[in-house]
């Protein structure tokens, strides 16, 4: 590939590293992005950024070292720092970085029609604004961003993988009196987002919630939107599937393989090759080929996620779950396209308290699963229709217990980036009214 010609220094780096350490891994990122921001209905700011970064990991006699920099020309200093860092680490069982696999290098989440142009960002904002006009609400803020990123992974066993991905994201905030609405969308492809719908929804929630009234404390059947459900899953449930947390005693799921952890209808898996999904990749952040992982099958816990470090330490195999937040730091355990699925149905025929979003889900107790959050844009629904909005109320419960009381999954599916899921109906949850 053409790009490899420009990065011949990586081979120099690897040769240099091999003089002092057993193995070395190089992760390099280059990207461009553009974004535009709305203040009320006017575009007030346009930004472009050029990012570049280099992360180096060295392994010597089971000691893992790392460093990063955004000046690639100074890779020698960065390599020195990585080797020095390795000398501090406690040695661990280590079976080596992966060698090269014959993987296709055609990108899975790249849109050639997506150009990183300010004018496109502005058009996206304008389309959102027109969508928001359908409702009686004022836009307070919004943003639209486009990006393209080139990623390169190389190691001393001959791995030379490259990938290119694109991204587009939009969000809009609206208000009516003291009622707010927020909506967003993101994808790797320009034609996979719907900015008009984002604007319409933000306006809808702001204007409709304005008529909200208080409700008494008590037990209610809930309909959590994919967004609200993802907040609870992402802050508590998904971290408990992390192999490292499991073996370290920091996961509620430790020792529970083969046991029920959710209602029978629920399955949860990571599918890194899902067509059209934003997290799709053929290799993980350490160069391990990715594959589908079935974490929960029909309510039964079947697997945990591992990267190489955790797998070697506890005598398991990497599940290809290594991910990086950026070029800096070490790879950790993550997921690619986490899908929640099961038998679908209509959930809003009978009266139910529908919740669009939550405030404060990150304050949940990640170990015990207890949470207590404020509702955002909650409504009673019946016969498929939004009815009385709720002004303000708290939801308290336990994320782990809640997944045993699932009444059904909706017919909708929302792609929230790295999580793809429907809405969910849950029996008898405690609401604290005002």
């Amino acid at each position: 590939m053409r790009w490899w010609v420009a990065v011949a220094w990586i081979d120099d780096l690897i040769r240099e590293a091999e003089k002092s350490v057993d193995e070395v891994e190089v992760f390099s990122v280059e990207g461009e992005s553009v974004s535009a921001e709305l203040k009320t209905t006017k575009v007030s700011l346009a930004t472009t950024s050029r990012d570049c970064g280099l992360g180096i990991r060295t392994i010597h006699k089971g000691r893992i070292g790392s460093s990063s920099t955004n000046n690639k020309e100074e890779w020698r200093e960065c390599l020195k720092a990585a080797i020095a860092s390795g000398k501090l680490a406690t040695p661990q069982e280590w079976g080596g970085l992966p060698g090269p696999s014959d993987l296709p290098m055609t990108p899975l989440a790249f849109d050639p029609d997506l150009t990183v142009e300010p004018a496109t960002a502005r058009e996206l904002l304008e389309t959102m604004l027109s969508g928001a006009q359908e409702h009686d609400a004022e836009v307070t803020a919004g943003s639209a961003g486009l990006s393209t990123t080139r990623v390169l992974l190389a190691n001393s066993h001959g791995v030379r993988y490259s990938d290119e991905h694109t991204g587009v994201s939009v969000s809009l905030e609206a208000i009516h009196g003291q009622s707010t609405g927020y909506e967003f969308d993101s994808s790797w492809a320009l034609d996979r987002i719907d900015p008009a719908h984002v604007g319409e929804r933000a306006g809808f929630f702001a204007s409709e919630s304005a008529k909200g009234t208080d409700i008494p404390s008590g037990s209610y059947d809930l309909l959590l939107s994919p967004l609200a459900w993802a907040e609870l899953l992402g802050n508590v449930f998904v971290p408990a599937l992390n192999g490292r947390s499991v073996h370290a005693g920091r996961s509620k799921f430790a020792g529970m393989l083969g046991q029920p952890v959710a209602s029978e209808g629920l399955s949860l898996y990571d599918d890194p090759h899902l067509p059209g999904a934003g997290g799709s990749t053929r290799w993980d952040a350490e160069g391990t080929p990715t594959r589908r992982i079935d974490f929960i099958e029909k309510g039964i816990l079947r697997a945990f996620a591992y990267d190489l470090k955790t797998a070697y330490r506890y005598g398991r195999e990497s599940t290809g779950s290594a991910s990086r937040g950026g070029y800096g730091g070490l790879p950790g355990i993550g997921h690619h396209n986490l899908v929640v699925d099961g038998e679908r149905g209509t959930l809003d025929d009978e009266r139910v308290l529908s919740i669009h979003n939550l405030i404060g889900a990150h304050t949940a107790n990640p170990l015990s699963g207890e949470f207590s959050v404020e509702l955002s844009n909650a409504f009673f629904m019946e016969g498929g229709e939004y009815q009385e909005p709720v002004r303000s109320a708290m939801l308290s419960g336990n994320v782990f217990d809640l997944h045993h009381t699932i009444a059904g999954l909706g017919n909708d599916t929302r792609n929230l980036g790295s999580m793809i899921l429907p809405s969910v109906r849950i029996h008898n949850q405690r609401i604290i009214g005002k």
Binding site: S49, A84, L88, G360, S372
Partner: protein, 443 residues
């Protein structure tokens, strides 16, 4: 050529060092380097901003080309911006007792391991400690000829203890972060405290939610000030119409005894010698004696909204500045702790913070305590866990009826617009009457 009315450039270079110890194993330790800059250019129609990784300072035609590039970007903007008149100037960075850069990483690692070992006790199944140190060199210049340069370091550690018994898993978490230099020495007690909290929580009960009187410790009361008042007073949100405090300057929002301040000049974790727009920093009384007094501003929101002080622009390295809090606190009053507990009589006492969130436009906030105790007849009784508070900004502050006579600040990080900046929050002990308490306990 575009007509550039203003530009500024902020470059941050530096290094970050981390050590992560998990159950006695040094998982990783080392140093990384960064160099990030942001160039903002103002033309008639709005802002054009370039974010540049690995920036090399330049002058002459090369710099002019960057300015023009940013100005061209602003072709898509259509909101004319005025910048408020401000004072410029820089405060000295407080001296450090011991510079972390003078301590070698092996010693840091050994000291952190001692703190982590302090967590070991019966009932503890996992312990973890991490150290973070950031050294930043900031260079600022603008088209009006202002130029500043300073170096500042922040360092500190977190320690986590996990206790488990019969499937009941609880945690204790302590953190100490400082701008005053190396703080890993003589801290084993902090590890022991985390362990004690985690083990005690195994026997704590879930409180039943509802309306009750609540006593907040200084850390949690500080988060309350930050979430319930601080964010809603940010000038950019006021300008956008996304805050319930908009247009309410001079209105009473709390009792005479309530004063809430943001002060970047305080030598606490949120200290800034100069703000990210080169504006001199200043104490701002957001609420004075129960009345909405002043908003937090950058130059743009000062010009468009007024009623407040600029000098509150802050930014992560390479990111455009936003209006942010720094050191936010409830001013101390004159009540003793005995008076606060006796006035509360029956209710709940809440300790520490697991964070919070606010919707400033709706005026609704939520935040979570680490643990607490039921208060019965003015005395702490049963320990409780997983309890949060929520409320309406415009009505809840009236519930603060007593403020203690001693204030304490706690360090933390605050997120906004995808940027995280160091802050501190603080308060004295406060009594909050008729608080809405969330908890999943049942009778």
């Amino acid at each position: 050529m575009h007509d550039i009315s203003y530009y500024d450039l902020r470059q941050v270079t530096g290094a970050s060092t981390h050590i992560d110890i998990d159950n006695g194993v040094v998982e990783s330790a080392g140093t990384s380097f960064f160099n990030k800059a942001v160039l903002r250019v103002l033309v008639k129609s709005g802002w054009g901003v370039l974010q540049i990784d690995n920036y090399t300072p330049c002058t002459g035609t090369k710099f002019d080309e960057l300015l023009q590039q940013a100005a061209r970007l602003a072709n898509i903007t259509d909101e004319p911006v005025r910048l408020g008149d401000v004072l410029h100037g820089i405060l000295p960075v407080p001296p450090v007792k011991e510079d972390p850069r003078d301590v070698d990483i092996e010693e840091k690692s050994r000291l952190l391991a001692e703190i982590e070992a302090g967590v070991v006790r019966e009932g503890i199944v996992n312990r973890r400690a991490n150290y973070v140190e950031r050294d930043e060199r900031v260079r600022f210049l603008d088209s009006s000829g202002n130029e500043y340069e300073y170096r500042m370091g922040r360092s500190g550690f977190n320690v986590l203890a996990v206790a488990s018994r019969n499937g009941n898993v609880q945690m204790g978490y302590e953190r100490e972060h400082s701008i005053h230099g190396f703080n890993l020495r003589h801290q084993q007690e902090v590890g022991r405290k985390a362990a004690e909290t985690a083990v005690s929580l195994l026997d704590a009960v879930l409180p039943k939610g509802g309306k009750m009187h609540a006593i907040l410790d200084p850390e949690l009361a500080g988060v309350f000030a930050h979430e319930a008042v601080g964010h809603a007073s940010e000038g950019d949100l006021i300008h956008e119409g996304n805050s319930v405090l908009k247009g309410r300057t001079g209105e009473r929002i709390g009792n005479e005894n309530l004063t809430i301040v943001d002060d970047p000049t305080l030598p606490e974790f949120g200290f800034d010698p100069v703000d990210a727009e080169g504006v001199s920093v200043k104490r701002t009384e957001i609420i004075r004696k129960g009345v909405i007094n002043a908003f937090l501003h950058n130059r743009e929101s000062l010009a468009s909204v007024g009623n407040g002080c600029a000098g509150h622009a802050r930014a992560m390295p390479g990111e455009p500045p936003l209006v942010r809090m720094s050191n936010t606190f409830i001013q101390e009053g004159d009540a003793t702790n005995e008076e606060i507990f006796s006035e509360c009589k029956n209710g709940i006492y809440l300790v520490g913070s697991r964070g919070g969130q606010v919707d400033p436009g709706r005026g609704v906030f939520q935040f979570n305590a680490e643990y607490g105790y039921l208060v019965e007849n003015g005395e702490c009784t049963t320990m409780v866990r997983d309890v949060s508070l929520s409320g309406d900004i415009l009505s809840t502050l009236h519930g603060i009826t007593l403020c203690g006579n001693e204030r304490k600040m706690s360090p933390g990080y605050c997120g906004k617009g995808g940027q995280s900046v160091p802050v501190s929050d603080g308060a004295p002990y406060i009594l909050l009457c008729d608080a809405v308490v969330g908890g999943s306990g049942v009778d």
